[in-house]
């Protein structure tokens, strides 16, 4: 939490740009980084700040992008030398970095992701209660009485509770936008009748939950709102940040380094053998249509100066993936 992270703390909600804070929490000397040093990793892999030189940076970039994809924080241990260590579990990962100069680093990577979005149509007591509770639960809430307005991008949920005023157009808009959760607050009788009259396929009609919410015996507006949030969470995971963590089977062992992990493309540095993120912010060069990725200028230079190594390197790179 040094100056590097200041402009971005809180900015995620305004710009909806995910970022990862990287903080050095422990070092075994010799290292150039000190505990408390920190950096920001942007979604495109750019790094601002300092977490221990260009070698550590390439490791941080790859694991930060993975944390961004999973939504889970990671305690990264970067140790010198070659080799692979299986994931430690409990959010800890050990990575061997052949280009590190002796010391070891522990770096905490925490993804900061945009909040999930819910749009509530109507100004009924249930609509107001739902908007209120959704904020507490951690959603970014839009209250709307205008079904003509487009829904915000990445809207996770739409709940229609307008007591008949704009129910039909709001439902059509939500279905048309492919919103994952659509709830319609109405009695079973009215809900069924409204849906039956909408010009929708049976499949699309089945996507609308009505009456919205789990049957918990809710009576008051806030209780109904609670039942709707409970249904939303039960079907679409935590209200927390918009990451893919709840879609991934949790009991599956993490993929080995070198394989594609989450949404992050990786490659092996042909010189030092380190796994790096294959993104534009990583050093790379292209020969004969083949792109090679590097942890540092040193590796890039060694590669460029030695065509024989290029050939051998490609074999190695292929063999290890």
């Amino acid at each position: 939490m040094t100056q590097a992270t200041a402009p971005l703390a809180g900015a995620v909600d305004k710009a909806r740009q995910p970022w990862v804070s990287a903080t050095v929490v422990q070092v075994e000397r010799p290292t150039s980084a000190r505990p408390g040093d920190s950096a920001v990793v942007h979604a495109d892999g750019r790094i601002e700040g300092f977490v221990g030189g260009v070698c550590a940076e390439s490791t941080v970039r790859m694991h930060a992008l993975q944390a961004m994809a999973t939504g889970e924080p990671v305690l990264l241990r970067v140790v010198p030398g070659e080799g692979e260590t299986p994931p430690d579990g409990d959010g800890m990962v050990t990575v061997h970095n052949p280009c590190l100069s002796g010391g070891a680093l522990q770096i905490f990577l925490e993804p900061h992701l945009p909040r999930r979005r819910i749009t509530v149509y109507g100004s009924s007591p249930v609509a107001r209660a739902l908007a209120d509770l959704s904020r507490h639960v951690g959603y970014e809430v839009t209250e709307s009485e205008d079904a003509d307005a487009a829904l915000a991008d990445e809207t996770t949920a739409v709940v229609v509770a307008s007591l008949g005023r704009i129910d039909e157009p709001a439902l059509l808009r939500a279905v048309g936008a492919g919103v994952p959760y659509i709830g319609f607050v109405a009695s079973p009788k009215r809900g069924g009748a409204v849906l039956a009259n909408l010009d929708l396929s049976a499949e699309d009609r089945a996507r609308v939950h009505t009456p919205a919410g789990l049957d918990i015996g809710a009576r008051t507006a806030h209780e109904i709102a609670l039942s709707i949030l409970a249904e939303l969470i039960s079907l679409h995971g935590s209200s927390g940040p918009a990451a893919s963590r709840h879609e991934a089977p949790s009991d599956e062992a993490p993929a080995a380094v070198g394989e594609a992990q989450g949404a992050v493309a990786t490659a092996v540095d042909p010189i030092c053998g380190m796994t790096v993120a294959a993104v534009a912010a990583t050093l790379h060069s292209e020969h004969d249509g083949v792109v090679a990725w590097f942890c540092s200028e040193g590796c890039l230079r060694a590669f460029e100066q030695d065509p024989a190594r290029r050939g051998g390197a490609r074999e190695r790179s292929t063999a290890s993936t």
């Binding site: 040094t2 100056q3 703390a9 809180g10 903080t23 929490v25 505990p35 408390g36 959010g91 905490f108």
Partner: protein, 104 residues
């Protein structure tokens, strides 16, 4: 942590000095997951939580010391730790914390 950062930003904007304790690792069953954070300002005000109450008071004292000295610390509280008994982490797990002064 983002909820706590909002409060940290308000404090910093008001000219307060702030220390931040973040859960960076857990073992076994721990009350809060990595990323949970607690912030303390130089008037002793506290926001957030790192242990659901178990070791909060001990963490606040450490954070106040970090706020004064400016040197970050790594702390662990666990059941095998006599100190943890003293401060009451009864949940059976271990939490690892990083405590730093916010330098914005």
């Amino acid at each position: 942590m983002d909820d706590v950062l909002d409060q940290v930003q308000r404090w910093v904007a008001d000219g307060r000095r702030v220390a931040l304790a973040t859960v960076i690792g857990t073992e076994n069953s721990a009350p809060r997951d990595p990323g949970a954070a607690l912030a303390v300002n130089d008037e002793g005000e506290v926001a957030g939580s790192v242990s659901g109450g178990c070791v909060e008071s001990a963490v606040v004292i450490e954070a106040m010391e970090v706020l004064e000295a400016g040197v970050p610390r790594r702390l662990s509280f666990g059941i095998g730790d006599a100190d943890a008994f003293a401060v009451g982490l009864t949940c059976g797990g271990t939490i690892h914390l990083f405590v730093e002064r916010v330098d914005w």
